[in-house]
């Protein structure tokens, strides 16, 4: 472990709210608006942290613990995720299982905290969240299994370190399919547009947003920061597969990875601008489709 491996973690901690800003600015550009400042998410976080918290009398300690456990889980997950060629702080065989498990833990506590409010409305959101994530998780795991088969490495850092442009030349279709599946997982897990609209407050369509309605103040800041980090980490996962090119110079690699991350943010903004949200009934088909795409990739590597 050297000082260099702190960099992905630090960048994730500092820059993840900026990614939301880039997405929003891209959407504003497409809508012909000026849009909010790039740093708006930081302002929001700062504002929320200074506010007080209100807890409903029907809630228990679970409701208070939810945002904190979620943040703790995602921070632990951030230790495991490399950024491009720059290895993560922690790497051990099968660490991607822990990564997926931590995302699951975070989701579980968001869901349980939502159920703890006793509001049927939040229960509905929780039910949708669980249903959709039950469909995205197979896609995520199959995509990761494909990467393991393809690179022959068992940890995220070595996997991305091993991947190179030779993989794109040799088995381009496999990597293309994995990237496609991971991007759909990214959009679904972060409740971006084809699955859920992060801006809407139309009750009947919300998934993630509806579960966190009762959180306020610093608790809500935690949730906001957690979802920004989640977007960053899943983005880094998709990016590590999409851009496995190494220039030899670690700083140059890092700059390329950062450029890729913000390119990804712009791409998400473009997707959100040109697509309509899918009907709720069709969302499972999209997610199963992502799983199918990942399975095709896995079958291609097994042959």
């Amino acid at each position: 472990m050297n000082a260099f491996s702190f960099i992905p973690l630090l960048l994730a901690l500092v820059l993840s709210p900026l990614m939301l800003g880039v997405i929003n600015r891209t959407k504003a550009f497409f809508a012909g608006r000026h849009g909010q400042p790039l740093l708006q998410t930081y302002f929001d976080l700062f504002k929320l942290l200074q506010k007080g918290v209100i807890y409903s009398r029907t809630t228990t300690w679970i409701f208070r613990a939810g945002p904190m456990i979620g943040l703790a889980a995602i921070l632990t997950a951030a230790l495991l995720m490399p950024l491009g060629k720059c290895p993560a702080l922690l790497a051990f065989p099968a660490d991607f299982l822990l990564f997926a498990g931590l995302l699951g833990l975070m989701r579980f506590f968001t869901v349980v905290a939502a159920l703890d409010t006793g509001s049927s409305f939040e229960g509905m959101g929780a039910s949708r969240e669980v249903f959709f994530s039950a469909l995205t998780e197979p896609a995520l795991f199959i995509a990761l299994a494909t990467l393991v088969r393809e690179t022959g490495r068992l940890s995220l850092s070595t996997m991305f370190g091993q991947a190179s442009n030779a993989h794109w030349l040799h088995s381009g279709p496999v990597l293309g399919l994995v990237v496609l599946a991971l991007v759909i997982v990214l959009l679904a897990e972060n409740s971006r547009i084809p699955v859920d609209d992060p801006n809407t407050h139309l009750e009947l369509t919300m998934i993630h947003e509806v579960m966190v309605l009762d959180h306020s103040g610093p608790d809500f800041a935690f949730i906001l920061y957690t979802s920004a980090l989640k977007l960053w980490l899943l983005g880094a996962l998709a990016l590590g597969v999409a851009l496995p090119f190494s220039s030899g110079n670690p700083w140059l690699n890092l700059a390329m990875a950062l450029g890729g991350m913000f390119g990804l943010a712009v791409a998400i903004g473009v997707i959100e601008s040109v697509m309509a949200r899918l009907r709720l009934r069709v969302v499972p088909q999209l997610l199963i489709g992502a799983g199918a795409v990942a399975t095709v990739a896995l079958i291609l590597t097994l042959k």
Partner: protein, 212 residues
């Protein structure tokens, strides 16, 4: 590399057909698949490119990419049917069955003692998969248009098989197969129109008794 890409795209279009709920988009997907497969012989035999392959590719692309979709869209328009596919087997179940079939095709493709060239390792599995998906679409969908599409996908599978396995299929035989497919689609297009005129619908599950 390019062959692999096309074959993977063919596999994906097959999965899309299994999950697609609209007749119009299904027709377009089958057309796209036909165009991609039309380009396949040129890519497989890139070193020995001759007039034979060029003519075959041009004919296939024109027929499968332009004429068939046109005929099917015309049948769809004249029959004035709703645009839903109306499956017996649901879309998600269909995709899952398709994935199982894909795995089986790869397993079977690895065991079949056919001699394919080095770049064609995907040819046999994807051909088997197309044949299966075609059969499945014929069996598991109610609309007569889907039966034509299933037949076309099956034909695409056999065509893929031919491209990979037989290096030098006689030109006349290939033309004959194309002509057969053309006649079949043409006849089915007319049949759909007449079925619709007689029965006011084109659902094959209600065609089990004759109208007196």
């Amino acid at each position: 590399m390019m062959t692999d890409l096309i074959l993977v795209l063919v596999v994906l279009t097959n999965l899309k057909l299994l999950g697609s709920s609209r007749l119009g988009s299904s027709i377009r997907v089958v057309a796209a698949q036909g165009v991609m497969l039309g380009l396949l012989p040129i890519l497989v035999h890139v070193h020995e490119l001759s007039l034979h392959f060029a003519a075959l590719a041009a004919g296939t692309v024109a027929l499968k990419g332009v004429v068939f979709p046109w005929l099917l869209f015309r049948a769809l328009r004249e029959a004035e049917v709703t645009r839903e596919v109306e499956p017996y087997v649901g879309y998600i179940t269909s995709i899952l069955i398709g994935l199982a079939a894909l795995a089986t095709s790869f397993w079977l493709g690895g065991r079949l003692p056919v001699s394919t060239g080095e770049p064609a390792s995907l040819l046999v599995p994807s051909a088997l998969f197309s044949i299966f998906v075609g059969l499945f679409l014929i069996v598991a969908r109610k609309r007569a248009v889907n039966q034509v599409l299933g037949f076309l996908v099956m034909e695409n599978g056999i065509y893929t098989f031919g491209v990979g396995v037989v290096a030098e299929l006689p030109f006349l035989v290939e033309l004959g197969v194309l002509l057969d497919a053309f006649v079949a689609v043409f006849v089915m297009g007319i049949a759909i129109y007449h079925i619709n005129r007689e029965f006011d619908h084109i659902e094959v599950n209600r065609l089990d008794q004759l109208k007196g």
